[in-house]
Symmetry: C2
Subunit: 382 residues, 2 copies
Amino acid sequence: MLKINPDLDKIEISAIRKIAEACKEHQNGEKELINLTIGEPDIPAPKEIIDGTIEYIKTGKLGYPQLGGIVELREEISKFYKEKYKVDVSPDEIIVTVGSTEGLSTVIKTVILPGDEVITALPFYPGYEPLIVLAGAKLIKVDTSKTEFQLTVESLKRNLTEKTKAIILNYPSNPSGVIISKKNRDEILKFAKSNNLYIISDEVYSEIIFENEHNSFLTNDYRDNVILINGFSKSHSLTGWRIGYIISSTKLRNSLIKVHQYTVTAPSIISQRGALIASKKCRDISEVVDVYKERARVVCDKLEARGVYPIKPKGAIYIFLSLDEITDLSSLEFAKKLLEEEKVAVVPGIAFGMDNYIRISLVKDKDILSEGVERILKFLKK
Amino acid sequence: MLKINPDLDKIEISAIRKIAEACKEHQNGEKELINLTIGEPDIPAPKEIIDGTIEYIKTGKLGYPQLGGIVELREEISKFYKEKYKVDVSPDEIIVTVGSTEGLSTVIKTVILPGDEVITALPFYPGYEPLIVLAGAKLIKVDTSKTEFQLTVESLKRNLTEKTKAIILNYPSNPSGVIISKKNRDEILKFAKSNNLYIISDEVYSEIIFENEHNSFLTNDYRDNVILINGFSKSHSLTGWRIGYIISSTKLRNSLIKVHQYTVTAPSIISQRGALIASKKCRDISEVVDVYKERARVVCDKLEARGVYPIKPKGAIYIFLSLDEITDLSSLEFAKKLLEEEKVAVVPGIAFGMDNYIRISLVKDKDILSEGVERILKFLKK
């Protein structure tokens, strides 16, 4: 083959996706497969979004969307941040993206340069490192298991070098479900400002909160440092629609939008209209949150009743479970054996950089989740 | 602002898009604006696509699409290339992309490295250079105005250096409407193979052909060298849906798909289903082709009757008109004055690297196009 980008040898298709695809082999056995891998909501998107999108398609206005996203959607996002988070965001500080993935990709391509270092919390979402590597930079992973899975200024200080360019954060956290405290959030913001760092805050689970409040890194101060990534995939079950957004300073947006335009032109106009309905008419997702919260409770209670203690999630849609007291197997061996023997698929913690954990996605009805946990417990007994 | 990618200073939002946006100021005057800028089909998408997509949305199966694109769509594309072009393409050699833009972006990020040179024909589609620049490479533009707007092996030979990595081609050409001859196509393929170059062939206008045959660079030979980019925006008027595809060797696809996954995850499942209907049920677009062909004839006839001779397009949806015998104005001055004085918007040739041309898009009904040409002729008289 003719020479290609050598950095591509350093990255792989996401382990989560690989395990999800491997599940297909186990789909037609005697025992029904319980797939708790990929973080894809099983709860259907609100009917209003479906119906409204269909009505919109009938208008036939399906040409190129406005550069950076349709203005009505950007206005709704702006209003939402004002009302819910008390943050002033102009519609011209928003770019509507092809899911939060394109948001991340566009941001990293814009602000991360070869040789840069980017600090993130360990465990981390597996989508970050490949983008950092493709940008010629290095992801520095800071173990947070001793600080309640929160990144702290102390740990940032220990890892700060002349090359440090940015911090990528993901709270509520995938995989741990932890929310960042207001104190830690404020200290990290100050640290970023005084050290001239970008904060890339992936808040795609911001609306799925069980306890306490979500502390967004987007505040009225620090706007030059903070780049927010969010989307509708998790909050409104719009995974396949591929629709998210970036919020940044106006100045940075002028650069981000160049990368965005030449990478994708725009997200689908149909998906943008769906997101507009989500923003306008379906902002209250408390029923959905209650479902995930109840599922989290059921899984945690069941595990704890048998002496197995996961991290209790404060948000997002996952349970992160330590294997330390449970098994000597690596997370991948554990996940593979569990899949083979008990037909339960979970994500090995190694996908998030922690080989002594597994992640259970709360994306099945609580009865199925209960059965899944039963099988995990049965597997542990052996 | 904190330091960002310095290459971004070298690129701008596409001139076509800027002019299209500038048109908005002229939309509410006495005289109606005739906007012949952006290459966006005015012909609606086939009703079957709209209706079928709506039916699909009602099924509620709107989760993450399969990695690389839904298999049914990749199978249909594979069949299409077999039936129409006699080329064997496995579904596993196809990646479904967010329009041909993401296709281009993914390909360039995968195969073009810093320091590389990429040869293209002048005039060229404005989307190429920014992506090449962002990859740290250089676009070498070869004037084709003396060779009937076709890239030839002779011109490639003259521009070949040790750094040459790829050739980007766009036939049928935007802006010239020229088709590449079988002879030139074959010679370029051989040249690419013997010099170890990639051919990135953007064939997004492949189905809109007025005269002769489209000679695709995708043949059963040279598969290791050729990467095809195509999409449904132009052929099926699905611009806002953002749906296209890449065809490559299997080996290269394994690398392309990593970049694709981490850049966008996937194109919208809704758009993929729309494209599936386009592929399955709407492959005959001869009526659409006839409309563009008739429009091209009307515009050319009208201009020629007054002694103005554009390049007669053999395909695509544009008329490229030399200003040499017409005016001393630069293409941008010409376009600006034409817009101000006659309320006709065209794209200045400088957007395609040729300042002595303008591009007229055939994206309005022929009566409106006639009126547009009348106004251009009136403007020329002054």
